[in-house]
């Protein structure tokens, strides 16, 4: 039994020492053992704090375990020892109450300094409003008229083990957030439904997105690159499928990017206006609708339109999808307040809404044969 004990302790020590000396780098690899150092001054400070407290803990732990080990070896009954009779010592007891105090003060001071710096969101160069909703992020650049949703880009087939998983499995999005390096970027973080938490480990930024309240955080990235994170607060069924991807670009490249985005968004609005005068045919609506449905609706109403009984209603055979078209448009445009059914007016274009509604009215045996056009959606939106 003694040998087993030694082996075990050796094992534990080797675990701890690997953890201690494992090089941590910003490119996560399969056996990353330690916290990332990240790419901001703050994340570096956080990493240093982490290592300091970790080493203190290892030293304290090692000291305690060493004394225990000594006792279990040399003060064992089988060696024929006589037990001592002491059972208190005011001096010793005071010493091991006071010593930890001193260590704690030693820890608390640098921690407080870093914390104060982290909470100072003043004098930001740019501000981005980050809004979580089930299960995607929305980014809005407050200084430029640019905003977009960012959804996980991993295919369902990869998740269902039908396709091979790519290296960024679950950590890739259709439209990453882009920010400039060397600039103080302030994030205003909120939510449209439940609580989410916006987290990028490389920036040491993790802040909850609370519905109805706005939190603040900031970062100043030192190196251009792609940084990946995830939602960190349980937010329902697809909490595990809500990644955050941020691309940090040199300021000049960032300026060019944002100008380009503004142009794209302006053109898209013009396009919308033109669409109002046109009618799309069933085939086109169905194909666009199927794609939109898969990205925007299938998470809840399921790819087969059957929903999840008791949680998300089926659209297959539902009264709204078969009969009341105005109500159907209304639900998609405005959502159903107080439920998980959110408003899609901001998220989808008129064309996409028209297409997805058409799709829902004609897929899975919902054969109404009706089409919904962009102008129908627009009429409802303006009628409000």
């Amino acid at each position: 039994m003694r040998n087993k004990l030694y082996q075990l302790i050796a094992l534990a020590l080797s675990f701890i020492s690997t953890a201690l000396f494992a090089a941590s780098d910003t490119h996560p690899d399969a056996y990353q053992l330690n916290l990332t150092k990240g790419v901001t001054d703050i994340s570096q400070e956080v990493y240093d704090l982490h290592m300091t407290i970790f080493i203190i803990c290892v030293v304290i732990g090692a000291g305690v375990f060493a004394v225990m080990l000594w006792s279990t070896i040399f003060h064992r009954k089988s060696r024929g020892v006589k037990p001592a009779t002491f059972h208190e010592s005011v001096k010793v007891e005071i010493a091991w109450t006071v010593a930890p105090f001193v260590i704690l003060i030693f820890m608390a001071i640098p921690a407080a300094q870093t914390l104060i710096a982290m909470e100072d969101t003043t004098e930001a160069d740019i501000t981005v409003l980050v809004t979580g909703s089930q299960w995607k992020w929305h980014y809005k650049y407050m200084d430029d008229e640019v905003e977009f949703f960012s959804l996980m880009a991993t295919q369902q087939e990869e998740i269902k083990n039908k396709f091979e998983k790519n290296p960024n499995y679950l950590l890739e999005v259709d439209r990453p957030l882009v920010i400039p390096t060397d600039k103080k970027v302030r994030f205003l973080i909120t939510s449209d439904d439940v609580i989410h938490s916006w987290w990028v480990p490389a920036f040491a930024v993790k802040k909850d997105a609370n519905p109805g309240f706005i939190n603040e955080a900031w970062t100043k990235v030192n190196e251009p690159g792609i940084y990946r994170g995830q939602c960190a607060e349980l937010c329902g069924k697809d909490h595990g499928f809500m990644p955050v991807v941020v691309i940090a670009k040199e300021p000049a490249e960032y300026e060019a990017w944002i100008a380009e985005q503004k142009e794209i968004q302006r053109l898209a609005k013009e396009e919308e206006q033109k669409l109002l005068a046109m009618n799309m045919d069933m085939a086109e609506l169905m194909s666009v609708g199927e794609r939109v449905y898969a990205t925007a609706c299938a998470a809840c109403h399921m790819p087969n339109g059957e929903g999840l009984p008791g949680v998300f209603p089926a659209l297959k055979g539902s009264d709204i999808a078969l009969n009341d078209m105005q109500k159907h448009i209304d639900v998609v445009v405005n959502g159903i307040p107080g439920t998980a059914m959110q408003s899609y007016a901001k998220q989808l274009s008129l064309k996409e809404m028209a297409a997805v509604i058409t799709y829902e009215r004609n897929a899975w045996g919902n054969d109404t044969g009706e089409t919904v056009q962009a102008k129908d959606v627009n009429a409802l939106m303006n009628g409000n």
């Binding site: 075990l8 534990a12 996560p28 399969a30 990353q32 053992l33 916290l35 704090l49 982490h50 407290i53 304290i60 375990f65 225990m68 006792s71 279990t72 003060h75 009954k77 089988s78 020892v81 006589k82 001592a84 059972h87 208190e88 010793v92 007891e93 091991w96 109450t97 930890p100 820890m107 921690a111 914390l115 909470e119 990869e158 998740i159 679950l170 950590l171 439940v194 938490s197 480990p201 040491a204 993790k206 802040k207 909850d208 609370n210 519905p211 109805g212 309240f213 603040e216 994170g229 960190a232 607060e233 349980l234 069924k237 909490h239 499928f241 009984p309 008791g310 949680v311 439920t339 998980a340």
Partner: protein, 530 residues
């Protein structure tokens, strides 16, 4: 006080005239019977909650979704947590208190035997309700055992009503149990047993019982507000109606943090009984142990928001809760140091209770130290809601609380049955558990630091290797508990060598002065403690 003893005395006249079969267990007011019910119930719940953990670990064995859908996965994490906390750990400690507190203080029974019966018998209903909700349309609770609003209100399914009701019952049971413990300890100690002569298990349970009475009503309040927000149009946690979802977390953790001490203080008591016995030396620093327990309990009321650093608290709040939390490590450290000092220059032997206690001290200390790391607010921003936290609380709850319960079972089982259990099986149980539990929880530190969030049914490829090992550890730990089951069944059938009254060579205390097995009624005339 006089009426209580009179009545107990009255009962004593019809010794052992108890109904047989199921009625004996349904109607019993005997602390030993009720305790056995509690302990078996806790063990069954431990296996049920463990089976759910197996589902979780099977899904996480590989990246991708293989076995369950995400919504069911969330139900598993939620119900696993609820069952382990309220169904396994807490009833097990209450069971131990029921058996041992009267024996340790020289009382004939618990002070309120009928309430004792009730506090147990409502529990199976609470858990039947909770478990049956898994089978209703839309499934069971899926918002985590912390049931944060508005995920648990506006966005939850209809099993929420059942969840709320079952938590109410669990709370009522805990409060009744706690009242019973307090009344028993304060009124029924044998002559001469002053408070500062009480065994530490009794002390820690006394303090735990006060914690329970203080915070279980807060939990009841929280679930009630969830219920009215969901069904009756209130807006406690809904900003649109003037409420605040973060207020839910403040209320929940005002309960939740003392709750974690409810689950660890009795463990401290158990370890403080066992280490001196097998070191053949008195507990080092008895008085400082008592004061440390009391200060942990008091501090536990002012640290709750360390679970909420990322919710966007004001800077001052973050600093306050960081420092208050760090302070808790001082009295906790005192405890660990005292145990080690008790072993120092003792004459140690390594029977099963001692092995579990040694494992407890080492592994609980690891969990305590990672807790200290989590207290550092700026670094907690990185750790929060990752597997690092999962590793931390499983070190304190599994290798902490659960190991202490096993230590207690191995320590007192011979007193309960009068026979020594199968020590070979016990050795197997210990070593399999010890190795597998570390394979299960240690690598969680690594994946957590590397950035794996908790409560996700699927994960990025970089976490795949460690998760495989974690799952293997999990299955092995789960299977190891079947060895314990076999051992317990053998023990309950009274197989094994008869033991002496003292059972363990170095054991001291009133419980070792009654015969083994402890008779149905003990201390009908109170012993005198010098």
């Amino acid at each position: 006080m006089t009426t209580a003893t009179d009545e107990l005395h009255h009962d004593d006249h019809h010794h052992d005239h108890k109904p047989s079969g199921i009625m004996r267990w349904l109607l019993t007011t005997n602390h030993k019977d009720i305790s056995s019910l509690y302990l078996w119930f806790a063990f069954i719940m431990f296996l049920v909650g463990g089976a759910m953990a197996m589902v979780i670990r099977a899904e996480l064995f590989q990246p991708g979704l293989q076995i369950v859908e995400p919504d069911f996965f969330n139900q598993m994490t939620t119900v696993h947590g609820l069952i382990m906390v309220f169904g396994a750990v807490m009833p097990a400690f209450t069971g131990l208190a029921n058996w041992m507190v009267p024996l340790m203080i020289g009382a004939p029974d618990m002070a309120l035997p009928r309430m004792n019966n009730w506090s147990f018998w409502i529990l199976p209903f609470a858990f039947a309700i909770l478990l049956s909700s898994l089978f209703m349309e839309g499934g069971g609770p899926n918002f985590g055992w912390t049931f944060y609003a508005p995920l648990s209100t506006t966005y939850s399914n209809d099993s929420t009503a059942l969840f709320v009701f079952s938590v109410h019952i669990m709370g009522a049971s805990s409060i009744m149990g706690a009242i019973n413990v307090i009344v028993t300890i304060l009124n029924m100690r044998a002559p001469g047993m002053t408070l500062m002569k009480m065994p530490l298990f009794v002390w820690t349970w006394l303090i735990t019982a006060f914690l329970l009475i203080a915070v279980m009503p807060v939990l009841a309040g929280a679930v009630t507000m969830v219920l009215t927000d969901k069904y009756f149009g209130t807006s406690f946690f809904d900003a649109a109606g003037g409420g605040d979802p973060v207020m839910f977390q403040h209320i929940f953790w005002f309960f939740g943090h003392p709750e974690v001490y409810i689950m660890i203080l009795p463990a401290f008591g158990i370890i403080s009984q066992i280490v001196p016995t097998f070191s053949r030396k008195k507990l080092f620093g008895y008085a400082s142990m008592v004061y440390a327990t009391a200060s942990i309990a008091l501090l536990s009321f002012v640290v709750w928001a360390h679970h909420m650093f990322t919710t966007g608290m004001p800077l001052f709040g973050e600093l306050f809760f960081m420092i208050a939390t760090m302070l808790i490590s001082v009295p906790t450290g005192v405890k660990v140091f005292n145990w080690v000092a008790t072993m120092w220059r003792g004459a140690i032997s390594f029977e099963m209770p001692m092995m579990f206690s040694l494992a407890f001290i080492v592994l609980f200390t690891i969990g305590g130290l990672s807790g200290l790391m989590l207290a550092i607010t700026p670094v907690d921003f990185q750790y929060h809601d990752t597997y690092f936290v999962v590793a931390h609380f499983h070190y304190v709850l599994v290798t902490g609380a659960v190991f202490s319960i096993m230590a207690a079972a191995y320590y007192w089982l011979p007193k309960w049955t009068g026979k020594m259990y199968d020590t070979t099986l016990a050795q197997w149980h210990f070593w399999c558990s010890l190795i597998s539990v570390n394979l299960l929880f240690f690598p969680m530190h690594f994946v957590g630091l590397a950035g794996m969030p908790r409560r996700i049914p699927d994960y990025a490829l970089q976490f795949a290797d460690f998760n495989k090992w974690i799952s293997i550890g999990g299955f092995a730990f789960g299977l190891s508990q079947l060895i314990f089951l076999a051992l317990l069944i053998k023990a309950c059938r009274k197989q094994g060598e008869p033991v002496s009254d003292q059972v363990w060579e170095g054991a001291e205390g009133l419980e070792w002065e009654v015969p083994s097995p402890a008779p149905y009624h003990t201390f009908e005339t109170p012993p005198v403690v010098k």
